[in-house]
Symmetry: C2
């Protein structure tokens, strides 16, 4: 009965909130959606970012170009644009990576991608392969590992309904596999790519070395080649050859790019939207996170074009280097703390440019209840996720118990088909799916701004 | 206050229903999803249907092959498989279709597709082009139309949130454009394809002729070419050349394929799942409606593999010729009436193999309330649409005020990028999205079966 009563109260509360939706709310949100879906400005921006700049790993010349592009694009929209210096690592991969399965005198050359942060092989590395399912399996086989290349063959578990859960479940293999293998004397590490697709794209992504073990080279191979290698290992002794030239240089200075529309009523209250400007050094960084970048820029554009003058200050932040250390997000949060800026809310889009489902919120109970109150409003827009949950890597350092941290939730069934590969290209982002996300983010910013107006001084 | 009380009652009702979910419910649904996502049997079936048979317009040899394939595939799963004779039209397009924009002595050859059911051009047809936005615009320009080719340039309206609404809004141009133009003496009709994509694929689809006007040839051109033609027409007099050999032959006999698992408790109560086996004569009919076919077959397979013995009889029906007259659906409904079969429910999947959102139901208030009661259960499975709405073309003739008619609702933002084109191929169907749909349908069948058990004799 208690739960029935609390449901009753919740319904009353929701109705109370719904009753507060004004005609202006409906008109503005409709405008945001209609303009996004008609103008396709985010999609056009994405084409430029992907095709004229391409992938843009932090520390690279392409990331410099992307920063200039971000500044120029925002300067046509925002009241002010500034660059915030951020020190970022500079890890460089040379293009001539090579990998081959070797059995006796036969060689099968397969595509490999060094994991981000890996050391190079310093010439050709050749060693016998030992397959391990996971770290537990590695431990069992510990005394057979010395001098070999460990092949972690842990598949994405397909039974997770949300692919992000499968990613989280497999992630430690990529980040820590090399150091775990090195503990037992391995000379190299190859992993099955973190993907739900059966194809021949290896997926890169961040790894790191533990301080107390030797640094051995680590690379990803595709899911299909992992299957091939597994099959070969069932039949005979298998060697793997790999050659990767990659190197970590001293940190360099790059920038977060910040575009701002000044609030008319509460300029000191700030609502931030953003994504990360860097990508991995493969493909075009279209879904990860070109999509989040162009959607965040589009938020400012849509507010402006709809003639909405926000009471609060709305910032679009293009963070640099999410992928390999989150320097942009950390530096931004430091600056917010140092300047004692009042951030009402931060919204991140970094789950790919797919059909939006709604928003998750890392916040207080009262904030989560407010978010849930929006659900009915967004029913005609196919948004239905309005609940407590994670936000995003870039904005997570802003967590302080007050700032609402939102993550744009999207239909991510296809995300890990493209993630961190040469296949993460503009053509694989659907225009309507991308634009719907931009409109959803703009609408949330609108309601957050309205919330502040209702709260008053 | 009345609405608050009714909401309160609804919450109580939902809680009452939720309380009725058993552990077995959770276990079976989890099994359906896990097996679908692990085995990928629907996806494998789709590959065979698309790659070994390909497109399969009703009346064609390929449709014959698809019928044999359907029979064979179901015979490994169902208790019984039968074929139900259906008379279908046989419309044939020859491959050498030709279209060109002609200005003075310059020719720009562009891809064209005759609309389904169109007459041929009987040699080369060349005439001046007159552009009309829609039927109203045609009426205004009525006295300029004689002897010309009418070019209907009505774009998909991008502001509709659901692409199906844009399709519905543009559909009359395709189905009736030729006859409307012929009323004013036009000699041919070309239409801008019904699509949300900007590309060079023309989209075919059914059209029909009115009895009181001459039958003129009708074809689709791509959205990009429609834009080109529009631009040319702004600058000068433009002619269009087209050559299409297509012909309507007498009806032929083909078959609905029906696989059945006999109910253990109420074998006379029937729950039907299905999609249409035919496609247009382009691409591979992957989304339309290969997806619905393989998902429907997968429902029987998943029930069986999960060890669920349904109380009611579960039928999978592969309807023939949805695209050009709905003969399969009409014949099936006639047979149900003639045999006085008791159909509890029919479920159709014919919106593409995209991420499922839930189910719409064409049914009574009580039935819709029951459906809504499932929503909370399916929250972990990302299903959220449980509401009154349309079902599908094939099952709509079963409507009798008692049978519940469900449509699988999917995220259709990409559907009209592929619909009725050479681009509707296997590679454009995502494995996980397809399989999630199959699992959702199986779960609904399970709950419908459980509902009958609770209702008893």
């Amino acid at each position: 009965m208690k739960s029935i009563m609390s449901s009753f109260l919740f319904v009353m509360f929701s109705l109370f909130l719904n009753a507060q939706f004004t005609q202006a709310d409906s008109v503005f949100v409709k405008k945001f959606y209609e303009m996004a879906l008609s103008d396709n400005a985010a999609h056009n921006d994405l084409k430029i970012l992907c095709k004229e700049i391409g992938n843009r790993i932090a520390g690279s010349e392409n990331a410099d170009k992307a920063i200039v592009w971000g500044e120029e694009t925002l300067s046509g929209i925002a009241d002010t644009v500034q660059k915030m210096p951020v020190m970022v690592p500079k890890w460089v991969r040379e293009k001539n990576e090579y990998g081959a399965i070797v059995i006796g005198r036969k060689k099968l050359v397969i595509p490999v991608k060094a994991l981000g942060g890996s050391v190079g092989t310093n010439g050709l590395l050749k060693a016998e392969v030992i397959e391990c399912r996971d770290f537990e399996d590695l431990k069992k086989k510990g005394n057979e590992v010395k001098g070999k290349i460990v092949f972690f063959n842990k598949a994405f578990d397909p039974v997770f309904i949300n692919t992000g859960s499968a990613y989280g479940n497999t992630f430690p293999i990529r980040s820590d596999g090399a150091s775990e293998a090195a503990k037992y004397g391995a000379v190299g590490c190859i992993i099955r790519s973190l993907t739900s697709a059966d194809d021949r794209f290896p997926h890169t992504g961040a790894m790191s070395y533990k301080s107390d073990v030797p640094q051995i080279p680590a690379a990803a191979i595709s899911s299909v080649d992992a299957h091939t290698l597994h099959t070969k290992l069932e039949m005979s002794k298998v060697f793997f050859e790999m050659k990767m030239n990659c190197e970590l240089f001293p940190d360099v200075e790059q920038f977060n790019v910040i575009g701002e529309i000044k609030g008319t009523q509460f300029p000191e209250r700030i609502i931030v939207v953003g994504g990360h400007l860097d990508s991995w050094d493969v493909g075009e960084g279209a879904h990860d996170d070109g999509a989040g970048i162009v959607q965040s820029i589009e938020v400012l554009r849509l507010l402006k074009r709809a003639g909405y003058k926000p009471a609060c200050t709305i910032r679009c932040v293009l963070y640099i280097n999410e992928e390999f250390g989150n320097d942009g997000g950390l530096t931004y949060a430091d600056s917010v703390h140092a300047q004692q800026l009042n951030h009402i809310a931060a919204i991140e889009s970094d789950a790919g440019g797919f059909t939006p489902k709604g928003f998750s919120l890392d916040g207080t109970d009262e904030q989560v209840e407010w978010l849930k109150g929006l659900q009915n409003f967004f029913d005609p827009y196919n948004l239905y996720v309005f609940k407590r949950g994670g936000s995003g890597v870039d904005i997570s350092p802003l967590k302080n118990g007050k700032t609402m941290l939102f993550g744009l939730q999207v239909d991510g069934q296809r995300y890990f088909d493209y993630h961190h590969t040469d296949n993460d290209i503009f053509e694989n982002v659907n225009r309507r799916e991308l634009e719907l996300g931009a409109a959803a983010m703009t609408s949330l910013v609108y309601f957050l701004d309205q919330r502040e107006i209702k709260r008053g001084e």
